[in-house]
Amino acid sequence: MNDAILVEGLQKRFGSNTALAGVDLTVPEGSVLGLLGPNGAGKTTVVRILTTLLQPDGGRAEVAGVDVLREPDRVRSLIGLTGQYAAVDEYLTGFENLEMVGRLYRLGKRESRARAEELLERFDLTDAADRPAKTYSGGMRRRLDIAASLIARPRVLFLDEPTTGLDPRSRLGMWEFIADLAGGGTTILLTTQYLEEADRLADRMVVIDRGRVIARGTADELKAQVGGQRLEFTVTDATVLPAMVERLRPLAVDEPHVDEQARRLSIPVSGGAEVLADALRRLDGQTAAVFDVGLRRPDLDDVFLALTGHGAEESAAEEGEAGPAPGVDETPAEPVPTGGVR
């Protein structure tokens, strides 16, 4: 399979600040790569270089087989970009925005209009087509922005934090659209701070921090890198936790972790479902306070924490995304290891 994106040794400095210190990555044609990292890790810088907005200080980049530095114009005709803000003209209507971008991709008047209609329909914007984008909600603007980047049927699509600032419902909707595009064979490079988003949409992931790649692989591979599974108990009354720790300690392969605030106990273990059965036996008679129990593999939040020494939430918190609320883990409690993709 050919690589739709090829990046080798990419470097970029802004003054004395090194944004990229030699990034390598490839994205096979038709796949989705999740580029993960906290704020300031260099995600956007990579996207800017690949979309010809920024010149790197060193390294090489190809998009759809075309050298980004040597033939930027050809690259531009093969890609679509949706940046961090919805870059739509708010005084133009949805239709006018798309028609304009179509014309600037040199599609011609008739085709620009036909594509505009088609994409408005596909992104549920037909009813709002003749209203200035100023009147759109955040989710609608973002959809219009993505529609604009798709107008010339790009071979490679760059989505820079496509759901930042969206409410949970719009985010789910956006995920469906993106999954749909990926299903249609478009190569996508997606940057995000939301681990759940990458887990859900990306085939492979690259984690960067301070301008360096610190991990890469599928979600399962990343999780395997961080380590094995753990038993998790959520209880209704935190006072029972110390006694539980004592009873379960023989099963632990590493120090158990107690979170009294979340009324949660997490014990690194090895082995499969029998560990869970064993644990329940050991707790004999003390399970009244247990609200939820499960054998879980690490999620990407754990991956992040382990790899970067700080959680993704720290930087995502300002967007109002503080990770799963205590006690409300959305992973279903299953007595068997869950797969990588939820």
Partner: protein, 269 residues
Amino acid sequence: MSSLSATLSDSVVITKRNLIKVKRVPDLIVFATLSPIMFVVLFRYVFGGAIGGLPPGISYAEFLLPGIFAQTVVFGSTITGASLADDLQKGLIDRFRSLPMSRSAVLIGRTVADAGLNVVSIAVMALTGLLVGWRIRSSFGEAVAGFLVLLVFAYAVSWLMAMVGLLVRTPEVVQNASFIVIFPLTFVANTFVPLETFPSALRVFAEWNPVSAVTLASRELFGNVPPGYPVPDAWSMQNPVLYTLIWTAVILAVFVPLSVRLYQRTSTR
């Protein structure tokens, strides 16, 4: 598509986009028309009686209008900078720069649309001027040339402002900063009062101020300078049309390439 016709067609698309905004944001039209009307009326009636030193045979309305034309079109061109800063802030410049479009079309489309806005301003002011006593006393061709000199000079200033907008990146700051420069530039000139009344150092500055040249050039072309009216000896005032065109050419020669180059490197944040 050849690169010239591609630039042209992209520029048309961008100009159209900018003009749609004018249509949908009434404030812009109000700014472009009401304030010049206000200026014409205020100066004509508030200062008109007090401003002396005019030669016999010319009314203050006739002296004033070309000055107000010049001031308004120069201010009008600051919209170019503010609008580009706005596009930059909203991520639109990033969008445009990621498209396979001509590298200069965004700037051409912007400056052309703003020149269009200046045409509207001048038309409104001219009509107001005719109502308060301004007259064109020259031939049709000369009058057209008078308007063209104003518009061409303002178009060049637009390119200078484009550069400012891309550098400053905040629309409000562009507005305020250019006000601080342009306000004195349009007042330390022959726009509203004859140069003879200026103290000597200021007078030399005013004589070589391109705004004075534009004003005098259009005044002459509209026939608002009576025969035998003493024009200052400075070369700039003896040859106002040529002097204006030299400024126009120099500003364009410097700022078109600089702005286009800056545009190609600018991105949000």
